[in-house]
């Protein structure tokens, strides 16, 4: 039951992009085509899950026992940066097709605050355990994918729309994101 609540909360109620404002840069940056947004979603799912697993274990078995938890930010960002590089190298060797699909998005992920944000938020879960933290990361990346792909599909349609001169480009995208976020606000009572 716990897990169902985490899933619904992360995907709909506290959507990581639309209500927690994490990962806005890729959300606005790589959402002009549905195909690229699917690639980005895959890369985020991959990295977020691995990063949360590693940072959770690191926090639990290294930082807390040694009493260095005030260095959390600095270690987490280093682990994530190193991990992204490693994933890139391994993927290139092991699965070239997957690398082809995700490759260009991987370097962008280091500065995706959703990855670091989820890694930190996962530590604060109630009755936290490794499984729960990993499940939390997967749920959040699904929420990210949902928001990103829906937004990209709307933007593809916007290209044909007749938009007032001053609203073209960034403002109309922000406005669309606002309306999307308004729609997600309707899920508030679900959990």
């Amino acid at each position: 039951m716990d897990y169902i609540i985490i899933l619904i909360a992360a995907v709909f109620v506290n959507n990581i992009v639309l209500s927690q404002f994490l990962g806005i840069c890729p959300f606005l940056g790589v959402s002009n085509k549905v195909s690229t947004s699917v690639g980005m979603s895959g890369a985020v799912l991959f990295v977020m899950t691995i990063a949360t697993t590693v940072t959770y274990l690191l926090n639990q078995y290294v930082l807390i026992p040694v009493g260095l938890d005030y260095l959390r930010t600095i270690t987490f960002i280093l682990v994530i940066a190193a991990l992204v590089q490693m994933v890139e190298i391994i993927l290139k060797k092991v699965s070239p097709p997957l690398y082809q699909a995700l490759g260009v998005f991987l370097p962008l992920i280091t500065t995706n605050c959703a990855v670091l944000g989820v890694a930190i938020l996962a530590l604060g879960l109630e009755n936290g355990s490794l499984v729960k933290a990993v499940f939390f990361a997967i749920s959040n990346s699904l929420g990210f994918s949902l928001a990103l792909i829906v937004f990209a599909s709307i933007r593809e349609h916007l290209e044909l729309a007749n938009i007032p001169e001053g609203m073209k480009g960034v403002p109309i995208n922000l406005l669309v994101a606002g309306l999307l976020s308004l729609a997600f606000l309707g899920f508030t009572a679900l959990v």
Partner: protein, 200 residues
């Protein structure tokens, strides 16, 4: 000539290359913490401090860092200052620390800071980097404070916590909720573009 350059380094961040309204960097904290003017200002000042310190350090050590590992090195420098800010806020302004929450450690991944380190401080001397950081930082503070003020005035009928509407007045609660952040920023960007395109 040199003085002109410093003035330009300082001013470009505020209007012509404003990090929020023109370059759209650092959007996560911009949208996430601006539900009130005070939070916006607090986040802005914290980021300004990290940006200034990291620009100074990066421009000092730029010749010691091998080009291949410069990005990780910059990230470590930035993360150290973020940790300092985190501790200072927790000790002296616990209220703000609680309000900003997750967004304080996330200053590390604010693209403005890494962007300035990479694009400016790693190529220029200390003095220019200080002016660049101050200009960009103040542009960021201004943008966050304006966005926070607009959202607070519309959403809760107050400014910096001072309530100026009667209790019974209806406010647009939408503006302190997440969608309001996107919508308010959309219209502010339109206004900013309009104003700057007229002056130039």
């Amino acid at each position: 000539m040199a003085e002109m350059n410093q003035k330009q380094n300082f001013l470009k961040g505020i209007i012509k290359e404003n990090p929020i309204f023109v370059m759209l960097l650092g959007m996560c904290p911009t949208l996430g913490v601006t539900s009130s003017a005070f939070n916006g200002l607090g986040m802005g000042v914290a980021t300004l401090f990290v940006l200034l310190m990291s620009n100074i350090v990066v421009s000092l050590v730029k010749n010691l860092i091998p080009a291949k590992v410069r990005i990780p090195a910059f990230i470590i420098i930035i993360a150290s200052f973020v940790t300092i800010v985190e501790m200072i806020l927790e000790a002296f302004v616990p209220l703000l620390y609680e309000q900003l929450g997750i967004f304080i450690p996330l200053i590390v991944v604010n693209c403005i800071i890494l962007g300035r380190a990479e694009a400016f401080a790693s190529k220029n001397n200390v003095l220019s980097s200080i002016f660049d950081a101050l200009g960009m930082g103040i542009g960021f503070v201004l943008a966050l404070t304006i966005l926070g003020s607009v959202r607070e005035i519309l959403g809760s009928g107050s400014l910096f916590g001072l309530i100026f509407l009667p209790e019974t007045a209806n406010t647009f609660i939408l503006f302190i909720l997440p969608p309001g952040a996107f919508i308010a920023l959309a219209y502010l960007t339109v206004m900013f573009n309009r104003l700057t395109s007229k002056t130039t």
